[in-house]
């Protein structure tokens, strides 16, 4: 209880302090708003241009959401295949890992070329960037099954299917969720890069657009929205994890109580 208070209270307090410092500096040094607007001004723009920001935010959120699903479904399936066959692991894993050395920026123009200016190219971009952490974490989770537990299942004469669904999948869930949490953070990057390279809507597009017109407050307002989106998505994942992996939560709370 106390920990929770500090958990949410302290970051908010820090944010307020930083904001006040920022506001004070901007006023004290008379920094012009087209270079660096103060937080109050940004909040004002966020309020005034609410409709615009929400409309573009919704586009970006859709891209992230769809891209995430694609990454999750493809990534999980591939992880299961890699886990089920040594040959597939040898074939796929090195390629998946080395594919990470290609910067997404480098292939973004190609994706625009192939999937168009619309939402499709951003979904693919997000999926590509999230996919990696999902695959790697899921494979690790599927492998994490404790040998003694596997021996128990053997004693109980479980079929391979039963071992998979009753032990491997539940055992992998905490790993999958760590993958998803990292994925949430990078998914925002994927969508925004896609919008920078070529788009007609979305918060990334809005930033570029506003920047070109020296509407620096609007750039900051877009950034604030992106950060709210990312944090909100992270919160959703945390809630889902609590629902789907309740045993981990309980173990953690026991440790913190003792």
């Amino acid at each position: 209880m106390k920990a929770r208070f500090y958990n949410t209270g302290l970051p908010i307090a820090l944010l307020v302090i930083l904001g006040l410092g920022w506001e004070a500096s901007v006023r004290l040094f008379e920094i012009p708003p087209y270079v660096l607007p103060g937080p109050l001004q940004i909040l004002e723009v966020m309020w005034q241009r609410m409709d615009l920001l929400a409309a573009h935010g919704l586009v970006t959120l859709t891209e992230i959401g769809l891209g995430f699903w694609v990454a999750l479904v493809v990534g999980f399936t591939l992880a299961v295949l890699i886990h089920s066959s040594q040959i597939l692991e040898w074939a796929f894993l090195p390629l998946i890992i080395s594919s990470q050395t290609i910067p997404v920026f480098a292939i973004a123009p190609l994706l625009i070329l192939w999937f168009g200016y619309g939402i499709g190219s951003k979904v693919v971009m997000t999926a590509i960037i999230v996919f990696f952490t999902i695959v790697i974490n899921t494979v690790e989770g599927l492998k994490a099954a404790d040998p003694d537990t596997l021996a128990l299942l053997k004693i109980l004469e479980a079929t391979p299917g039963q071992v998979f669904f009753k032990v491997r999948i539940p055992q992998s869930l905490p790993f999958v969720f760590s993958g998803i949490k990292i994925g949430v953070a990078v998914s925002v990057i994927g969508a925004v890069i896609g919008e920078w390279v070529g788009a007609r809507e979305g918060l990334g597009y809005l930033m570029i657009h506003a920047n070109a017109q020296l509407q620096v407050e609007l750039v900051f307002a877009s950034i604030a929205w992106l950060s709210i989106l990312g944090t909100g998505l992270y919160g959703v994942v945390v809630v889902l994890e609590r629902l789907l992996v309740p045993w981990r939560q309980r173990a953690a709370s026991l440790i913190s109580e003792s």
Binding site: D148, T149, A151, L153, K154, L156, K166, W247, A251, L254
Partner: protein
């Protein structure tokens, strides 16, 4: 109440097993032979590290013996899987399952519907002292409770041979007494053959029809003792005290050998 009848159900002949770590070879079991009749309650005692768990793991088919064979109903078998339920020394509860769902794991794997399996398990909660803890996860249970959940999972498999590896090791004296009496009741009702490993001479005397004593590593059978007293037994009976003395002497010799 001695259930020994005619031919043995289970005959184990000359089981040996060594483990190699690197160059060194560690002989753990050296020609272990024993038999068990249908419905018989056998206890195995021996110094720790003498290979009791290894012996059970061979019977369960988790590891294979270097030499020796296992005969079940007069036929040679590779292991007892299919006929036995085995409670290992570790409780091995699944952390994502609560008490009730851990207890029904074996039944579920046998294809029973979860709902009917849970109903059956629920009826046993009280005897196992787990009432009110059916929704708890293993991390929230004491060592003794976890062991009882594991025992419940084993019993609910309903097999005719039970292998129990120090099933009451983590229990306090009072719970242990209750569980021992309860195990005798289950045994009387369903009549499985029981092989029970224990380091507790009194526990062996209270429970078993026959007690095998093992030597220190490499483990083999040092001797056996028929215990024909009526149940329920009391450890304070004069003849039980004599048996206890005899067994302790056998064991102490081995512990001396084990620690030169």
């Amino acid at each position: 109440m001695n259930k020994r009848t005619g031919d043995p159900l289970l005959q184990i002949n000359g089981l040996s097993r060594a483990f190699s770590n690197g160059k060194d070879k560690l002989q753990v079991l050296q020609s272990v032979s024993l038999d068990a009749c249908e419905g018989e309650f056998i206890a195995i005692i021996g110094p720790s590290g003498c290979g009791k768990s290894t012996f059970f793991n061979i019977l369960a088919g988790l590891i294979s013996p270097d030499e020796g064979n296992i005969m079940l109903d007069g036929k040679k078998v590779p292991h007892l899987r299919g006929r036995m339920a085995y409670m290992q020394q570790k409780d091995l509860l699944l952390p994502w399952r609560n008490t009730l769902d851990n207890a029904i794991l074996g039944m579920e794997i046998q294809g029973r519907h979860k709902r009917s399996a849970r109903e059956q398990a629920r009826e046993l909660l009280k005897i196992f002292g787990l009432e009110g803890f059916e929704e708890h996860y293993p991390q929230e249970l004491s060592g003794g409770m976890r062991q009882r959940v594991a025992l419940m999972r084993t019993i609910l498999c309903k097999k005719d041979i039970l292998l129990l590896d120090e099933p009451f090791g983590a229990l306090d004296a009072m719970t242990r007494g209750i569980m021992q009496r309860w195990l005798l009741k289950v045994w009387g009702q369903f009549g499985p053959s029981v092989l029970l490993v224990t380091h507790d001479v009194e526990e062996a005397l209270i429970l078993a029809d026959r007690i095998y004593v093992m030597t220190s590593r490499p483990g083999s059978i040092k001797g056996s003792l028929q215990v024909s007293f009526e149940r329920p037994r009391r450890i304070t009976q004069a003849d039980m005290v004599d048996c206890k003395k005899y067994l302790l002497e056998l064991l102490e010799e081995e512990i001396m050998v084990g620690q030169p």
